[in-house]
C-alpha cells in the first residue's frame, strides 16, 4: 500500500521529474512465463508490435493550452508524421492513441471517459501536460486532479505546456512500451498476453496521493487556508506595512456633470464615490439601480450604450466588517497604534453582496461603474436583461457563482458550473481547492453526464415566438413551403461540440436543425471553467501573473498586460518607458502570433488545409523571438508589476528586424491563398452578419466590433503604455459578416508589424522595472547593495507585497478585444476579489443571432471568424 501510494503520488506529481512509463512489474495480467510462447507467437508478437508502433493513429482531446503545442507538433517544423503517427484525428472510431492535452475539468470528464471507451481495442493513452497529469497549477474546485483518475494512462508528458518536442519524445517512449507487449495471445483468442493499456485507473487518496505538495509530506500540515470569513485575517503581517494610498483620479467635467445630473434626478438613495482610482463610481440602492442604469443608457448626455461587465462581490470576508463585528474588543489588546483601523462604517449598512455594473459610453469614450449593495444570504436583484440583452449570461454567471437571483431573468440557470453542482464557488465560504473536496472518480464521470440537448434547448433562452415568426417570414420559406407541412415539424437536435475540431475548444452548440438549416442555436459553456477568479483570492499579487497568461493561451503576455495595468492603476505605480515599450513589443508580437493561428484555423475550418502549414512557420519564428526575450513560448510570464522580469537579451533587435523585413511579403503570399478564392468568398461573404447596433448592445469588442464599422480600439481610445506615441491605423470594415472580420484581422497583422517596427527602432534606454521596490521584485545586483532593497526583496518574494485598499479596472486591447481585470484589494498581500472581463464571453453570446437561419456549414465558418478561445469565455 505504502509503495503503491508512493508510485502513484510520484506519478501524479510527475511534472519536472521526467517521463514515466508503466512499470512492467505492475502488469499483473501477464501471469504465464513469456518464454513458454511458441516461436510462432514470438514472431507474430514482433511483427504486430513493429506494425503497431509505427502506425499509431492519435486522437486528440485538446482541452486547453497544451493542445496548441500538440497542434504545433504536426505542423512543418515538428512533423509528427515522421514518427509514424499520422494526422491527429477528432473521432474515436479511427484512433488507437488518445492524447489528452490540457486541463481535465469535472464538467468535461464524462466526455473524456466516453471517447476513450468508444475507441477500438487495443488503445493507449498519453497524458500531455501538468494539468492532465495531476491538475498542475489548478488545484481548484472545477478541475480533476489528473486524468488517470478516470482513464488509464501509459505515458505522462510533463510541462506547462510541454513543448512539441516533448510530445514527440512521449510518443517515442510509448513506441518503446508497445514493443514490449505480447499481443499474439490476445489476437488469437488465447489466454494471457498483453496489449494496450493495462494500468489501473487511480483513486485519489487510495492509490494516489492527494497532497498538493506531492508525496512525502504527510507529517507536515499544509500551510495556509482558503480565504474564508472564519478565521478572519485580522492579524496579517501586511497590516504593519505602510503603502501610499490608492491612486486618485481627477474626474473629467463630463463625469462631474453626470454625477450632478444623477444626484438631481435620483436624490437621496444615490451617492457618488468622492474619489476613485479609475472611473466615476456611483452607488445606487437596489430599488433604483435599474432606473439609474436605464437613464444612463438612454437619457444621459453621453449615452452609456454598452454593458462592459456585470459581476458581484461577496462582502462577507471584508476585514473591516469582521473587525467591527467580532474583534472590536480584541483589537484593543493589540496595543493601540499597531493597527490603524480604517474608518468604521456601521455594520448594519454594510451590504452582504455588491453588484457591480460597468458601462461604457462610445460617444465620450468614458466608463462608469454602478454599484448596488444587496443584503441577505441569498439576495434577489432585478434583472437588466430588458435594458441590455447581453446581461443574460452575466446574470446567470452571478447566480451560478454567488447564488444571487435575478427577478425577470428569462432563464436563470447555471452557466459555468455543471447542472449537478452544489454551492456557489465565488462565495467566500466556499472552499477553493479540489484537494479539499471529495476526489473525483471514474464513477463520477459515468454518473455526472451533461444535460440532454432537448432539456437545454427547451429551458434555454429562446427568442420570443414573435421574433422567430418575424425571422421566419424574413427567411421567406422554412415555415410553410415545400420542406414542411404544418403537422410535421422535422426538427432535429444536433450537438456540435464540446469535442469538435471547429469549436476551437470545449464549446457545446446545440443546433435545432431543419434539414441543414439552423432554426435556433443554444450554447452551453463552462466546460473550460478554470476558476481563475477564485485563484486570484489565494495567490499573491505577483503569483497570479502566470494564471493570467492561461486565460488566453494564444495571446500570451497580452493578458498579463491587462492584469498588471489594473494593479498599477490601483497602486499608482509608474512604469519606466523602456518597460512600456517592451510590453508593447510583446503584445504586438503575440497579436501576430494569435492572428496567424486564427488565419490558419479559419481557413482550415473552411476546408483549406494549406495555410496551416505556411502560417505556422512564421508563428514559430515569432515564438522564437518571444522565447529569446522571455524564455517562454505560449506563456511568457514575463511582465511584472512595475515593469518586466528582465531586460531585453542580446540579439533581440536583429531577430525582430528580420521578422519585420520578411513578414509583409509572406503575409501577402498567404493572403493570395484566400482573399480571392471563390470558395472562400462564397463561404464568408454575407454569412454570419451582425449589425453595428446589435454588436454595441451585446458588448461585442475587438476585431468583431470593428468589422461592423466602428473604429473602436482601446489603444486609441484609452491609450496605455505609450500607445499614443505609435503610428498605426485602426482597420475597420462595414459589412459585419465573416469576410469583414477576415479583412479586419488581416489588416491588423499589417498594423501590428508597423508598431513592432516602431517599438524596436525607438526602444528607449533606461530601467525595465520601476524603482519603487515596494511594489516590485528588486533586481538581484541592486538587492545585494543596500539593506532596504534586500528587505523589499525578502518580503516581496516571500509573503508578497501589499497593495493599498481600493479597486481598479485595467483593460488592454488583446487580439480578441477588450480584456480587463477588475482588481479589488483589502490591503493585503493578495486580492480580495479579481474579476476577469474576457472579450470572448460577450462575443460568443451573439452566436445564436449570427447563426440562426444559416446552414450548419456556415456555423463552422462563423465560429472560425469570431476567433474564440475558451479559457477567456469560461475563465
Amino acid at each position: 500500500m505504502e509503495r503503491a501510494q508512493d508510485v502513484a503520488g510520484d506519478r501524479e506529481r510527475g511534472a519536472g521529474s521526467g517521463y514515466r512509463v508503466s512499470d512492467p512489474r505492475d502488469q499483473t495480467s501477464e501471469s504465464r512465463d513469456p518464454t513458454a510462447d511458441s516461436r510462432f507467437l514470438s514472431l507474430t508478437d514482433r511483427v504486430v508490435n513493429w506494425a503497431r508502433k509505427f502506425s499509431l493513429w492519435p486522437m486528440f482531446f485538446g482541452l486547453s493550452c497544451c493542445f496548441v503545442e500538440e497542434a504545433a507538433s504536426f505542423t512543418s517544423r515538428y512533423d509528427l508524421a515522421r514518427f509514424g503517427a499520422e494526422v491527429l484525428r477528432p473521432s474515436p472510431r479511427q484512433a488507437d492513441l488518445l492524447i489528452v492535452s490540457g486541463t481535465v475539468f469535472k464538467k468535461i470528464a464524462p466526455i473524456v471517459l466516453r471517447l476513450y471507451e468508444q475507441m477500438p481495442e487495443p488503445k493507449w493513452v498519453i497524458s500531455m501536460g501538468s494539468c492532465s497529469n495531476s491538475g498542475g497549477m489548478y488545484d481548484v474546485y472545477s478541475v480533476v486532479q489528473g486524468v488517470d483518475q478516470i482513464i488509464p494512462v501509459d505515458v505522462y508528458v510533463p510541462g506547462c505546456p510541454p513543448r512539441p518536442e516533448a510530445l514527440l519524445q512521449g510518443l517515442v517512449i510509448l513506441q518503446e512500451k508497445i514493443s514490449t507487449e505480447k499481443p499474439s495471445r490476445r489476437i488469437f483468442h488465447m489466454a494471457g498476453g498483453t496489449q494496450g493499456t493495462d494500468r489501473p485507473v487511480l483513486v485519489g487518496g487510495a492509490t494516489k496521493s492527494r497532497d498538493p505538495r506531492g508525496p512525502g509530506y504527510e507529517g507536515v500540515s499544509i500551510r495556509g487556508v482558503s480565504e474564508l470569513p472564519n478565521p478572519p485575517q485580522w492579524g496579517s503581517r501586511s497590516d504593519v506595512m505602510w503603502t501610499p494610498p490608492a491612486r486618485r483620479i481627477e474626474f473629467s467635467s463630463g463625469d462631474l456633470s453626470l454625477a450632478a445630473e444623477l444626484r438631481e434626478r435620483f436624490g437621496q438613495s444615490f451617492s457618488a464615490a468622492p474619489h476613485t482610482s479609475d472611473m466615476l463610481t456611483i452607488e445606487a440602492g437596489p430599488e433604483i439601480v435599474k432606473e439609474v442604469l436605464r437613464y444612463l443608457k438612454f437619457e444621459a448626455k453621453a449615452k452609456y450604450r454598452r454593458l462592459d461587465d456585470l459581476t458581484a462581490i461577496d462582502e462577507s470576508a471584508r476585514r473591516e466588517r469582521i473587525w467591527n463585528k467580532d474583534f472590536a474588543g480584541a483589537l484593543t489588546d493589540l496595543g493601540g497604534g499597531l493597527l490603524r483601523l480604517p474608518g468604521s462604517r456601521p455594520v448594519v449598512s454594510a451590504p452582504d453582496f455588491t453588484l457591480v455594473y460597468q458601462l461604457l459610453s462610445f460617444d465620450s469614450a468614458s466608463r462608469i461603474r454602478v454599484k448596488c449593495g444587496l443584503h441577505g444570504a441569498y439576495p434577489t436583484a432585478g434583472s437588466v436583461t430588458d435594458i441590455w440583452p447581453s446581461a443574460n449570461w452575466y446574470e446567470r454567471e452571478v447566480f451560478d457563482m454567488f447564488g444571487i437571483r435575478f427577478e425577470g431573468h428569462p432563464n436563470l440557470s447555471r452557466i459555468l458550473m455543471p447542472h449537478w453542482w452544489e454551492g456557489h464557488p465565488l462565495r467566500k465560504d466556499y472552499p477553493g481547492r479540489a484537494t479539499e473536496m471529495a476526489p473525483y472518480t471514474a464513477a463520477d464521470a459515468r454518473m455526472r453526464q451533461p444535460l440532454d440537448a432537448q432539456q437545454l434547448s427547451d429551458t434555454g433562452y429562446r427568442r420570443s415566438e414573435k421574433e422567430l415568426d418575424a425571422q421566419g417570414s424574413q427567411l421567406g420559406s422554412i415555415s410553410d413551403t415545400r420542406y414542411r407541412t404544418p403537422d410535421l415539424r422535422n426538427e432535429f437536435l444536433l450537438n456540435i461540440g464540446p469535442h469538435h475540431v471547429s469549436t476551437h475548444g470545449l464549446l457545446r452548440c446545440i443546433a435545432e436543425l431543419e434539414g441543414e438549416q439552423i432554426r435556433d442555436l443554444e450554447l452551453e459553456i463552462g466546460y473550460h471553467h478554470r476558476a481563475s477568479e477564485k485563484l486570484g483570492e489565494r495567490q499573491t499579487w505577483h503569483q497570479y501573473i502566470p494564471y493570467t497568461d492561461r486565460n488566453d493561451y494564444l495571446a500570451g503576455s497580452s493578458l498579463e498586460f491587462s492584469y498588471v495595468t489594473a494593479v498599477e492603476t490601483l497602486a499608482d505605480i509608474r512604469v519606466p518607458e523602456r518597460a512600456q515599450a517592451i510590453r508593447v513589443l510583446l503584445a504586438e508580437l503575440y497579436r501576430l502570433s494569435n492572428h496567424l493561428v486564427w488565419f490558419a484555423t479559419f481557413a482550415h475550418d473552411l476546408g483549406a488545409m494549406t495555410p496551416n502549414f505556411y502560417t505556422f512557420a512564421e508563428r514559430e519564428m515569432i515564438l522564437d523571438i518571444i522565447e529569446l526575450i522571455t524564455g517562454g513560448r505560449l506563456h511568457a510570464e514575463y511582465l511584472r508589476i512595475g515593469g518586466v522580469a528582465a531586460d531585453l537579451p542580446e540579439g533581440w533587435k536583429e531577430a525582430v528586424d528580420h521578422l519585420v523585413k520578411i513578414f509583409p511579403r509572406r503575409l501577402h503570399e498567404y493572403e493570395k491563398l484566400l482573399r480571392k478564392n471563390p470558395i472562400f468568398l462564397a463561404r464568408t461573404k454575407g454569412v454570419g452578419r451582425i449589425s453595428l447596433e446589435e454588436a454595441m448592445d451585446w458588448g461585442v469588442t475587438g476585431p468583431n466590433l470593428r468589422a461592423c464599422g466602428l473604429e473602436w480600439d482601446l489603444r486609441r481610445k484609452f491609450p496605455y503604455s505609450g500607445y499614443e506615441n505609435y503610428e498605426f491605423e485602426v482597420p475597420t470594415a462595414t459589412e459585419g459578416d465573416c469576410y469583414a472580420r477576415y479583412l479586419v484581422r488581416v489588416e491588423e497583422l499589417r498594423q501590428s508589424i508597423r508598431i513592432i517596427e516602431q517599438a524596436a527602432d525607438q526602444m528607449p534606454s533606461g530601467r525595465c522595472v520601476t524603482e519603487d521596490y515596494r511594489y516590485a521584485i528588486p533586481k538581484r545586483n541592486e538587492m545585494l547593495r543596500d539593506i532596504e532593497t534586500l528587505i523589499h526583496h525578502f518580503i516581496n518574494v516571500t509573503r508578497g507585497m501589499k497593495i493599498p485598499r481600493g479597486e481598479a479596472y485595467g483593460a488592454t486591447e488583446v487580439p480578441r478585444g477588450e480584456h480587463g481585470y477588475y482588481v479589488i484589494s483589502d490591503g493585503l498581500g493578495y486580492a480580495y476579489r479579481i474579476r476577469v472581463r474576457g472579450p470572448g464571453f460577450a462575443n460568443i453570446q451573439t452566436l445564436p443571432i449570427l447563426a440562426a437561419g444559416e446552414s450548419i456549414a456556415d456555423l463552422i465558418s462563423i465560429i472560425g471568424s469570431i476567433d474564440i478561445i475558451l479559457p477567456d469565455i469560461d475563465r
Partner: protein
C-alpha cells in the same frame, strides 16, 4: 471438362480479337480470389480482441449522448440537387452517342438533337426558377 482450343473457337473469326483457351486458368483465378477474400474477411472478423460495451456502440456526437432518433423525415435540399444532376448527367449519354455519328445523322439528326437540348434547357430553367437548385434560404 475439356479445355482444348477447338472447343473455344471464336464466334466470329476476325470480328473480335483471337481468344485462346482459358477456362481452367479462369477457374483457378476465381477460386484464388474467392479464397483470398474469404481469408481476409475471416481474419478481420476473428483476429483481434473485441470488447463490446454500451458506450462503444453508441453513436459519436462530439462526446454527448445523442438526443432522439435519427430515423425521421429529414429535409435534404441537397438530395434534389443530386437527383437533378443525375437526370441531366444521363442526358449526356444521348448527346455523346449522337456526337459519334454526327456525320451520318445529318441535318435531321442535328435538328432533333437541338430540339432535345432546348427542351432540356427549358426544364433546367424551370427548375431553377422554382428554386429547386437552392440549398438554403439566405438571410436577407
Amino acid at each position: 471438362m475439356t479445355c482444348s482450343g477447338g472447343f473455344m473457337e471464336p464466334i466470329a473469326q476476325g470480328a473480335m480479337s483471337p481468344f485462346e483457351s482459358g477456362v481452367f486458368s479462369l477457374v483457378v483465378y476465381t477460386i484464388l480470389v474467392a479464397a483470398f477474400i474469404a481469408s481476409q474477411l475471416f481474419l478481420a472478423a476473428w483476429v483481434g480482441e473485441k470488447k463490446q460495451s454500451v458506450e462503444k456502440s453508441r453513436p459519436y456526437e462530439c462526446g454527448i449522448i445523442p438526443t432522439g432518433s435519427a430515423r425521421f423525415r429529414y429535409p435534404v435540399p441537397f438530395y434534389m440537387v443530386a437527383i437533378f444532376f443525375l437526370i441531366f448527367d444521363v442526358e449526356g449519354a444521348f448527346i455523346f452517342t449522337w456526337a459519334v455519328i454526327y456525320e451520318d445523322a445529318g441535318l435531321a439528326g442535328y435538328a432533333q438533337m437541338a430540339f432535345f437540348i432546348i427542351l432540356l434547357l427549358a426544364g433546367l430553367f424551370y427548375i431553377w426558377r422554382q428554386g429547386g437548385l437552392d440549398w438554403k434560404e439566405h438571410k436577407t
